[in-house]
Amino acid sequence: MSAEAITVTYADVNKDILETLERPKPAFFLMLIGSVTALLIGAVSWAIQIDVGLGLSGINHPIGWGVYITNFVFWIGIGHAGTLISAVFFLTRAPWRAPVYRAAEAMTVFAVMTAGLFPLLHVGRVWYAYWLIPYPNQRLLWVNFKSPLLWDVFAVSTYLTISVTFFVVGLVPDLSAMRDNAKGLRKLMYTMLTMGWNNSYQQWMHYARGYLLLAAFATPLVFSVHSIVSWDFAMSLVPGWHTTIFAPYFVAGAIFSGLAMVITICVPLRVIFGFHHYITDHVLQSMAKVILFTSVIVGYAYATEFFIAYYSGVPFERALFYFRPFGEPGSLAPVADAGSFGFPQIAFFLMVFCNVIAPLPLWRLKIRHNAIALFIISILINIGMWFERFNIVVSSLQRDFNPANWGAYIPTPVELGITLGSFGFFFTLFTLFTRAMPSLAIAEVKESLPPPYKHPDQDHVPWREFATERTEDHNHA
């Protein structure tokens, strides 16, 4: 916490955060109208696709995975930051995580829910999606447990379940504060939701230990989920996909995009709800540092991909990595549009600009302390990461081993409508969340504040020494 937050008391925390659940501000309605409109466009597009068929999308031979799988990977990546902040930074005791962890965790749950829609959309006949689940059936057929696609089903559903669990567990103590502040029907509702939480140390003891264990489980899960998503690609033989760098490359990209989305939602939260004392410049700066770090990893991964394509000597890899930035080489004129510079190439340069060049100003402290600059950079990163997923998914399928098997892909209006709808779905859920639940974790923010001491200078009591060290740590941070 920075020096600004030291003046905040426990009672202020309750007041400031619970106040946001009272009368909604005009910004809430504006946000809701915008996101519901986008959601409706997506819903109508999906309805049309169900009615007419998957042929309305641009997916066709040889590009079997298009914008839907791009969106799936993108949203799973966005979902990474919440668990990273709530679990990994909890274990590493990062003092700046408390004010942003609730919003990030909600973002994770909603992003993974959004991602979960896309395999259903992609299969076309959504009513058969349950075939992905291993269930006893009359033909005694089982799913293929050796397939990365099935690993993904297990990984994503486990990730969603654990993220929701983490979210709910963290929310219960705050719901008790809401219950104690409410009257009538709302009090009854919150009483039921708190499941008998009474703030006693018998409960806090189990809570603290359980939360630590959940964080310990969720930490490897953060890194495993996007590794498994990357193996959907890397386990195949397709040029551009069949590479061992994919797991760390995807994980770094996921953390990068997820934290950018946290900044995208936290900067407006800070302005609209006046959370400047909680989501301080120091908090934003700390996230910006992690973004900068992962941006460098992502840039390095891009360079490595090109180097290995050259160094491997495999002509198919070399051809693909020439195609991504420059289009077809002149020597391939008989079989393709030589020298063409189309949508895949625009996507490539957008990816490089947004993910490698745009974050460079973050090396300057002044930029890291500027919320508006951070907001703009975070949006650019979100755009760049969407195009990175698009590049990986689509351009590799466009150019495989056999030139006779090459093809082109441009997203159709239905696919773009559904993509817009996914953003609508995500932001509708998040906007409603800010009205229904505390956007900041009340108990955790209190935990990160210096506690109310009557004798702050007395230091002979054994428990005091430990507490003083912790408080000093926070003040220094």
């Binding site: 297990f154 486990t158 709910v168 219960v172 104690d180 006693s200 189990h206 359980g210 498994i228 428990w463």
Partner: protein, 175 residues
Amino acid sequence: MRKPFNGVWGSFPYLDEAATVVETLRKEGKDLSVLSPCPRHELYDALGRPSSRLPWITLVAAGLGIFFGFAFPIWTAMDWVLPVSQKPIVGIPAFTIIGFELMVLLGGMATAISIFLLGHFDLFRYRLPTSPAFKSYTRFSNDRFGVVVRCPESDAAAVEQLMREHSVEEVVREF
């Protein structure tokens, strides 16, 4: 039928004062509970660092997850044998993913459920006041620290005196 609560409870505005009272009462062998708006190490240390049984439940559930994560794919592979080139029918490295995911899933779910169940079970052992005064006191989730002492009426005066010496804001006897 649950025994009614007999004892004294008080609310403290200062953490250090509440922790001092807790530590003194614990050393005197009193049966007590503490309430606070957030977990604080000062109170945990003053209570003598009690341990939770929860990790054992997590361990068993995670172990079951690993077992099912391997056993189920192995059984299905043996149930419908599907040879693919020279690949082994029972592919342990591939099944490790399922084992890991189910370990996390069952371990995490059991942990979350146990947090609340164990908290409820402990309420039978560590009873809290049931009076309207206690139930309507809402600041333990806000900015006050509570100390609840289960004691006979003969000890109440001494407990109350100790609390008053340490800036208790409100103290209530319930018998």
